[in-house]
């Protein structure tokens, strides 16, 4: 493990005293101009010293462009316009952000983060800010301000925890998205997110896994499962006429414990005789267009799913375990890529794999032996985008009940973590919102603190051994960063990995231990 300063874990989450600027050095790499242009953004390269790396700088006329973009977004997004006006600085949000709790940097308090943009909004768009800037904390837009934006709007994972507690429903995620969109229009796009989106456009998924490689991976998986349990579980790709198109984060094709989740979905489909397929066109459920606040890019990525569904002639769309993908799928897909009148209207469009599996479990269509998970005591991490940005099932709050019901149906030992760290008060894993990149490891190690504290308490009080999640980013962040807090990578599991463990397929022969 690389060396990062790990904050001290206390028995209870302690609210730090705000310190100025302790994290202002931390900035993700800036996207190269060619990657910017692929997303309809702009970029500028400076290379004064051939011995040094080139730098990517603000484009000419950036200030006017930034203010114009802000005006454009204020006119197109009610959320941004209302949120810029209605904050009263009551402080309710100041102790709610995991990045503030982990870093103690004052500008990681949600209201302070918003104020980085709000102070400029006031200066250029409000009467009070134009004529009495000092009085209302309005600020001129300068390069230093953009510098602060670049640091602190990339220290927000857009998890919306602050919005739950705000008396006016102000959602910092909306402000962060707007700020990132503005920065992308003046040459300060973020390398990680923007290059990934470029890969989706050209290759089809975040990983840049081409069709042939994907086919190989799936074939390999079939062989692995066959070897393990002697059942020919299929992982179909581009099967025309299948009933269900499964879109899942591409991490499910190679990362641990994601891939065990994918095996779980396949086993559930196999056990219920469900005809399904993956698609090489829509080989990615993730949609980083959300993170950069770009309607257009988010729509372009979403359209691959519509296209795949049309090409393959499927009747239904089911999403695998991915948090922000599910937010885009549940909340935005109908808007961006709908209407889906060509799909079977008797099922939710799209449907979450947990909704699918729970239905089958409740109908008794799966042969489950819960004792196969008895070596574990489970808890469940509510992923922020699922918890606060989407739903499952018919009733509000189904996104909390359904994954837990799936876990409890396949495991004997389950306990929740502390009440103020679950459901809609859940803490972000520390790597969401496009921050799951090595250049932000320092932030990721600190931002996980509230979740790690709750997990450690659950371990000590209830003997919890494993934490399940339904988000590819959460799983990746936890396996990489929880080891800094004394956990091992295999203590993080996919929900459908648990299903996979407990399910007994027809003809299954278990290896003898």
């Amino acid at each position: 493990m690389a060396d990062y300063e790990v904050p001290e874990v206390k028995e209870y989450a302690v609210v730090p005293l705000p310190k100025d600027g302790v994290m202002d050095h931390l900035k993700p790499f800036v996207a190269k101009p060619e990657f910017q242009e692929a997303l309809n953004y702009v970029g500028k390269k400076e290379h004064p010293d051939p011995k040094e790396m080139p730098t990517y700088v603000l484009v000419d006329g950036w200030k006017e462009k930034a203010i114009d973009k802000m005006g454009d977004l204020l006119g197109r997004y009610r959320s941004l316009q209302v949120f810029m006006d209605s904050c009263v600085k009551c402080g309710a949000c100041t102790d709610k952000c995991h990045y503030f709790l982990g870093t103690g940097d004052a500008k990681n308090m949600p209201v302070a983060r918003q104020d980085l943009l709000r102070s400029v909004y006031r200066r250029y768009f409000t009467f009070a800010g134009k004529y009495f800037p000092k009085l209302v904390g309005a600020k001129d837009l300068t390069e230093e301000v953009v510098d602060d934006w670049y640091s602190y709007f990339h220290q927000c994972s857009e998890c919306r925890r602050c919005a739950v507690f705000c008396p006016y429903g102000i959602d910092t995620a909306e402000v962060t998205m707007a700020a990132r969109e503005i920065m992308a229009h003046i040459g300060k796009g973020m390398k990680y997110s923007n290059e990934i989106i470029g890969k989706v456009f050209t290759i089809g998924n975040n990983l840049g896994l081409p069709e042939k490689a994907l086919a190989n991976v799936l074939e390999g998986l079939e062989e692995d499962v066959e070897y393990d349990i002697e059942v020919d579980v299929k992982f179909p790709l581009d099967q025309k006429g299948a009933d269900i198109l499964l879109v899942t984060p591409s991490a499910d094709f190679f990362a641990e414990p994601h891939i065990d989740g994918l095996i779980g979905y396949a086993k559930v489909f196999h056990a219920t005789n469900t005809s399904w397929t993956l698609s090489s066109v829509a080989s990615e459920a993730a949609n980083f267009g959300l993170f950069i606040g770009s309607y257009e890019n988010m729509q372009r990525i979403s359209m691959r799913i519509r296209e795949a569904a049309l090409q393959l002639g499927v009747k239904r769309i089911v999403y695998g375990e991915c948090g922000h993908a599910w937010r885009v799928g549940y909340s935005f897909l109908n808007t961006l890529a709908g209407p889906f009148d060509f799909l079977d209207q008797n099922y939710p469009i799209p449907q979450h794999i947990c909704e699918f599996t729970l239905d089958k479990l409740e109908k008794g269509e799966l042969n489950i032996d819960k004792s196969r998970n008895d070596d574990m005591t489970l808890t469940f991490h509510d992923s922020c985008n699922v918890a606060r940005g989407s739903g499952m099932g018919p009733e509000p709050g189904g996104q909390f009940r359904i994954p837990r019901a799936v876990i409890k149906a396949v495991c004997n030992n389950y306990v929740d973590m502390e009440k103020d760290t679950i459901h809609d008060a859940t803490f972000c894993c520390g790597g969401g919102g496009g921050l799951l990149t090595d250049d932000l490891m320092d932030l990721r190690v600190k931002g996980i603190l509230p979740r790690a504290t709750a997990l450690i308490n659950a371990k000590e009080e209830h003997g919890v051994t494993h934490m399940a999640a339904i988000c590819a980013i959460c799983k990746s962040q936890f396996t990489k960063v929880l080891p800094y807090y004394g956990f091992t990578m295999d203590q993080i599991v996919s929900v459908h990995q648990l299903v996979s463990n407990a399910i007994i397929l027809e003809g299954q022969v278990d290896p003898e231990d």
Partner: protein, 266 residues
């Protein structure tokens, strides 16, 4: 002096009403292109009304967030509402359209509650002001205007307290003056320093309201995070500026059908 105050109050009222109406119209005219309710969210319009009512009446989210801020904030706002109702009798014309309200406004309980609400307002405001000084996080995010706003409200409260409990004002005269403004028939304002201070400060509040954070008053109703129905899968949500994108969204090169889709897996 009477004329000056009358002009000031009239202007302030106009600025406040026009300013707030313009802001509300701006919020209404600005589209919300995506469904972004903070979930779990109600699945019906009735549910949304209830959700907003809980926020506006009980400050439900603030209660969950911070009990001290909730206590000071809620007591202040409820007391303000009581004091506001008590004040209505100064501007309601018994022979006018709203005259039917007079017996209600004159009820002992309404007047007494409104009178003693001044202590609630002072308590709440003092608590909120103390928080700004004492809690490091809140101090960090406070601009001068945040302190001034509380001080302005405190000054209005205190001048009201003086008239209500120490140096009584000829309230019949106040009513005559107020109805005079409303009927464009200017009458003399009763002699009272506290009254002049009170009215000038209230006028300032009216001027400041539409250009300050007091915009949380319309804002609380317009936050898409709270006022949207959670039904994106059931009902397609699309705004005007996004409709042209629907026409061109199929043109991206990667969406064009490839020659003969390969059956990768036989």
């Amino acid at each position: 002096m009477s004329t000056l105050i009358a002009v000031l109050l009239t202007l302030a009222t106009l600025v406040m009403i026009v300013g707030l109406a313009r802001k509300a119209r701006q919020y209404r005219a600005t589209p919300a292109p995506l469904k972004i309710p903070v979930t779990p969210a109600p699945k019906t319009t009735g549910g949304v009304v209830l959700r907003l009512a809980k926020e506006v009446v009980l400050f439900a989210s603030l209660f969950r967030s911070n009990k001290w801020t909730w206590m000071f904030g809620w007591i202040f706002h409820v007391s303000l509402a009581l004091a506001f109702v008590r004040h209505l009798r100064y501007v309601v014309d018994p022979d006018g359209l709203l005259g039917f309200m007079m017996p209600m406004l004159n009820l002992w309980v309404v007047q007494t509650a409104g009178q003693y609400a001044v202590f609630g307002m002072a308590f709440g405001l003092a608590g909120l002001l103390a928080r700004r000084f004492l809690v490091a996080r809140v101090r960090y995010i406070s601009a001068p205007s945040d302190y001034l706003m509380l001080i302005l409200l405190l000054a209005i409260t205190l001048s009201g307290f003086v008239m209500s409990f120490i140096s009584y004002v000829d309230i019949t005269g106040v009513k005559v003056f107020m109805l005079g403004i409303l009927n464009f028939d200017l009458q003399a304002l009763p002699e009272s320093t506290a009254l002049v201070v009170h009215l000038v400060l209230v006028a300032i509040l009216g001027f400041v309201l539409p250009i300050s954070k007091l915009l949380h008053i319309p804002g609380v109703f317009y936050a898409p995070t709270r006022n949207q129905v959670d039904n994106p899968r059931e009902k397609r949500h699309i705004v005007d500026w996004a409709k042209p994108l629907d026409e061109t969204r199929g043109n991206y090169p990667e969406l064009q059908p490839k020659e003969a889709t390969e059956e990768t897996k036989a």
